[in-house]
Symmetry: C2
Subunit: 755 residues, 2 copies
């Protein structure tokens, strides 16, 4: 997927390698183009791990040469691999989400006469290159080489012009977000500052927030100014105004300019052939002053090449925390690309001075740790935070602190938090399992008292006062959410999905309540977490929507809901995608289904009959359920191997669907090293056969986790035996503590399933 | 025209009178509704003399109940007397101009459910009241009494609600200006701040500037937020978004919001019957911080009633500088209303801390005197600055200082300056006569060296480097501007009008050059100022456009150009409107026309044949030309009397056309006291019969100018004899010095023209 590299890029790679000394270059295995088709919605933009800033090629508007256009259909990523028409670089974008958001502050370079209309200034491109922290291409219309890199909170862009007239543009009117409105002000001949409104993510109309920016160009222009689309007037006024309904250029104005569709340009009359003009931008979600401080502090005196080399080194250090040997080159690329995608969100929210926008507030807080944002928790609570806890614990503890502080600021833990706003996207109470999971794995340096209070509040506050569980009253009363009562709409009701999430959350909280001596609450919560049994229908052999009167929805088709079809009871899935999702009480579900054999057969039928959706979260732990049963673990190994091979590749479509801020990638990362956290909130991993021969993971205080696999052939995917610290290991689900303290985990793999 | 007064208003009037002690209430003669029909484009809003802030009822949009709609036709005033649909109060508006501008920051009060669409929230009104510094009405749809008053840089608004639910709105999307784009930010539960772009006056696309504001409400609301018109989306995105293409309410957001069509609301859930909510707003053209300081410094602790009473007192002091006795009540009303309108522009630009936006710059200056703006000089150089010089010299000197400092900041003196931007509206070099006129009348405490340099620059810089005289090259070469050469358009070329203005300006500058010893330049300029002779056509008996080859335009109709019809050579007028406009060389024109008799007869023919346009500036001094000739002065007295009676009344249409920032009113004020400055740049007044029996004008240092008229009947309009300081006065044109030092000027008036 790595296309041609420019000479400049080659130089950067060399520089980067110098920084890493003799260590392996793990970034060379990352292909940022993976996931950029097939609705993976990742992008090849430049970013550092969990950075606020990303600089992303924007190619989803302005031309019918593009296959996908942000305004012509539902579209949620600034970049698509097959699109052709580049209209600039977006600053700060989301990776792997399903709703359009952010992706604004679009910078562009052009030659010739100034043209503020993106339909006209956009260009085809070639020589596309992307490596961690760097992206570049060549604009064929202009013969301009464009390159971008990033620090945590700022961007650096380098435009190499063919000479003559050239322009640098920033478009503040467009972006992936559906919010509009921006303001910009000239600060000096080479600096502007401003803000733009973002938000309404997944059409949560009140979840809006501003981004602030400061942008500099490296060379004072021959001329500069603003542009703004003029309101269309009718009649005699229109006749007088040559700019009516057009982009007007403000050539002599130098103070604030605001509007829906505005921009700013710098024009250079006489560039030398090959002359480079650089653009630097700092952003903040607090203020313009902080955006400037972020830019100054993170870039002081640094060249573009140095920033790119630094970004590469940071990535290499992060990726290198997991060192794999063996496996094919393709598998290494899949692995490190997955790890790369898992290290994008959540991302840092606070500025270099510690300020950040408080949760659901117009006020700013000051943080002594890294405050994080973009918590797509319905996705990430399943494996991404477990990956953080294991490999990046210093980040995971800050993520949990961030979540707990949100509850202090707003009263509630996050569900789908986006830059200080709760978007209420998807459902459940996913922060509870994340916090309990983290605590149980020994990361405890956060305010557990406040966390516990907030978790209890969410699990027990009745009525309209509880924004996290809109249907809590009947859930508390009946231990299930009846179909249609809250939504008033039987056809598109997500009642079963809601309740299934509450069960998982309440099970996690029950453990903590017990620990803290709230025995009665623990008992209640545990009991409540078993309410899924209400939904089990012997007739269909699945969970099934239930009405308020206790009867099941009829007629009922458990296959309905494939491909995001709207169905009663289930959100983004069919009954089959949800039926086995009781990770905290698998034994209970087994009993309901009539025993292990029936459970296993039915689960295998799901896997075999295309009733398993690899592209969305509810069923992604299904393959690991086989390993709960002695003699059936080979099915996990087989299915995981099959799914990895089929859905995770180094092609642009190498992620099965939305990456979901790294959760799909997280599934692949865990699966490829031979383990998976199959129940959020429980500190356990289910084991499977690693694809690599050796995996070494850095742990705190210089400790390491080593996983080895003995295989003769690459197709040796079945576990024959295991040892932990040299001692035989019989069970396939082990605790976090056992794993970390047990010494090397060793797999003996073979061709034959061990039944 | 004064409609019903509310009880609140009665209280204010009482308060106001207390402040004025036993002196006469001159404000009671002012009818701010005069000039609010007939395209007078004045307004009845609240303002203090030459104040930055005006608070103007806005009734020119949103309903077909309005006769005139700002978006349906060319429209240049926020208020029209016959319109019915009130949509709020504009903050900072222009008075008496012919192009749409300013009139934004629209505040409104409503009851019931919040409605952000002005088409729906507007209301009919009754009980309209306006006196200097105060305006009020009752909104019939809501039964809300609205009242507004102003300090120099801030507004106070009082809304008396019927009780129950009420709302205060500020609409930042609409306004009279054709520029759009604003930003607003919540500062506290009762304060917002922001800015809005204004400009493109008369479609000078680059003459744009921001207004900054801080607004407070007196009572914390039950809820508040922003609104913004949402960009219209198509397809699946539109289907998801309930706000698509509508005004969206931002109920939970509290940081910056920017856009083309935005606003902010405060809602009160439970107002008591008769409860009042007040709004206070400070503005600045420098910054939000200055807007806040202006508000704080000018309103600290003051009640609405006190601010209104202070405004009234300031007006009374200013109006009372000219005290008239005799004449009808109607004449007094016309006079003081005219004086009121003449004291609105130019208006103060600097903030209380002295800062102001520098001319054609994004930087701010600091002024130790009052920096003025809104210099409609093609109009005001004819009489308004002469009125300022005579009666308000402390303001006139600051106005001249402002003009000179503009030349220091930008290189050029103003032509039609608007908030730091040169709009290049109309033509000529009108600041030259203003400065020379002021200097020659003894107001000399300004930087005459810099002024002189700037004047010379304007009069002599050739080519494209001279923005003030776009056609200077051929003017310098031929002493006239040939038709069509510069415009490339024979049909709408203003060449003769341009040149006529240059002649007047160069004549004024010639005097100063001579004074300063630049004898050669003085000679050249004097010679150039006689270039009008090139345009004189014996055939038509008028000035006439001339081609570059020296031949006259043919065919030619000197009547063409009435009613603002576009014609070759003349701007907003016919050849007849311009032919006698050579005030600096009337004798020369007389010779061209074949002597006094022919000149007088032809001028009288113009006056008698409706070839005189009382509604625009070029010919407004015509009636005074008769007095240049012994035995013909009665014609001046007759014509001025006739024109005053016909065109200046106390009805809403009591100004003949655009008031032109007070110039039409200035004509009436001078004419009614018996004198007129008939040649800008020359310190002379031509005398005519006053309409009052006694006029007393305050002069600096406690001196007074007294004018008396002895008449038997009101219809005694002809001067029989005059005395100055008791000595017979034979001439009808006297110098400023003679007038001020001569003692009482006394007219004996009678029924019979003195031929």
């Amino acid at each position: 997927m790595l296309k041609l590299r420019t000479r400049a890029m080659a130089a950067i790679l060399t520089l980067g390698m110098a920084g890493v000394a003799s260590a392996e270059d793990y970034t060379s295995y990352v292909n940022p183009f993976v996931g950029t088709t097939n609705f993976g919605t990742t992008n090849p933009g430049a970013i550092v791990p969990n950075g606020m800033m990303s600089v992303v090629p924007f190619n989803v508007m302005g031309s019918s040469d593009n296959v996908y256009d942000k305004d012509a259909r539902w579209w949620s990523t600034p970049y698509e691999f097959n699109n052709k028409f580049f209209t600039g670089y977006a600053h700060v974008a989301l990776s792997g989400v399903g709703c359009p958001e952010l992706g604004s502050l679009l910078t562009m370079a052009t030659t010739g006469d100034l043209e503020p209309d993106y339909h006209k200034y956009g260009s085809a491109y070639t020589e596309e290159t992307a490596t961690p922290g760097y992206y570049g291409n060549r604009l064929t219309k202009y013969d301009i080489v464009t390159e971008v890199t990033a620090t945590k909170r700022s961007s650096a862009e380098r435009y190499t012009f063919p000479g003559g007239r050239g322009n640098i543009l920033i478009n503040l009117g467009e972006g992936l977000t559906n919010e509009s409105g921006a303001t910009v002000r000239r600060v000096s001949p080479t600096e502007i500052e401003g803000s733009k409104l973002l938000g309404t993510f997944c059409y949560n109309a009140q979840a809006v927030f501003p981004i602030y920016f400061v942008m500099r160009v490296s060379k004072a222009p021959s001329s500069q100014g603003y542009w703004k689309m003029q309101r269309k007037m009718e009649g005699p006024e229109a006749a007088w105004d040559p700019d009516n309904g057009k982009y007007k250029l403000y050539t002599k104005y130098g103070r604030e300019l605001s509007g829906d569709d505005i921009g700013y340009w710098y024009s250079y009359d006489d560039l030398k052939p090959g002359e480079q003009v650089e653009v630097r931008m700092g952003v903040s979600f607090v203020s313009v002053a902080n955006a400037r401080e972020n830019l100054d502090k993170e870039q002081a005196g640094l060249t573009f090449d140095r920033i790119a080399a630094d970004a590469k080194k940071i990535w290499n250090d992060d990726l290198g925390r997991i060192r794999v040997k063996g496996g094919s080159d393709e598998q290494k690329r899949v692995f490190y690309t997955g790890l790369y995608h898992a290290l994008i969100h959540p991302n840092v929210l606070n500025d270099v001075n510690g300020q950040y926008p408080k949760m659901e507030s117009a006020e700013n807080g000051h943080s002594t740790y890294d405050r994080y944002t973009v918590f797509s928790l319905w996705d990430t609570y399943r494996n991404l935070h477990q990956l953080m806890t294991l490999v990046y614990p210093e980040r995971q503890i800050d993520m949990v602190r961030s979540m707990v502080d949100m509850s202090k600021e707003w009263g509630w833990l996050p569900k789908w938090e986006l830059y200080g706003r709760e978007t209420f996207t998807m459902e459940g109470d996913p922060s509870l399992p994340v916090i309990v999971d983290t605590w149980r794995k020994g990361l405890t340096d956060f305010d557990i008292d406040a966390a516990y209070e907030a978790m209890k509040r969410s699990a027990t506050t009745p009525g309209k006062d509880n924004p996290m569980r809109p249907d809590i009253d009947l859930y508390l009363e009946k231990a299930y959410v009846p179909l249609g009562v809250y939504s008033g709409d039987m056809s598109g009701d997500n009642s079963v999905s809601h309740a299934l999430e509450y069960y998982v959350a309440d099970a996690a909280l029950a453990w903590l309540a017990e620990q803290r001596g709230d025995t009665e609450l623990a008992r209640t919560l545990r009991q409540r977490s078993l309410g899924y049994k209400n939904y089990y229908s012997k007739e269909s052999g699945t969970l099934r929507p239930k009405l308020a009167d206790g009867t099941f929805l009829s007629p009922f088709d458990p296959r309905q809901g494939e491909n995001f079809e709207v169905v009663p009871g289930f959100h983004e899935g069919s009954a089959w995608n949800y039926t086995f999702f009781v990770p905290h009480d698998v034994d209970g579900l087994v009993k309901l289904m009539g025993g292990k054999r029936k459970f296993v057969d039915r689960l295998q039928m799901v896997m075999d009959s295309a009733l398993y959706d690899p592209a969305n979260e509810p069923d992604i732990a299904y393959p690991y359920l086989f390993s709960r049963f002695g003699g059936e673990e080979w099915r996990t190994q087989k299915e995981v191997n099959r799914l990895l091979g089929k859905y995770f590749t180094t092609k642009p479509d190498g992620i099965p669907g939305n990456d979901d801020t790294g959760t799909m990638s997280g599934w692949a990362v865990f699966s490829m090293i031979g383990m998976y956290p199959d129940c959020p909130g429980e500190p356990f991993y289910t084991l499977t056969s690693p694809v690599f021969d050796e995996v070494e993971i850095d742990l705190p205080e210089g400790r390491k986790l080593t996983i080895e696999a003995d295989r003769t052939l690459p197709s040796d995917i079945y576990i024959q035996s295991m040892t932990l610290g040299g001692k035989p290991l019989k069970k396939y689900r082990i605790s976090h503590d056992e794993l970390l303290k047990g010494g090397t985990l060793k797999f003996n793999l073979g061709q034959t399933p061990k039944k």
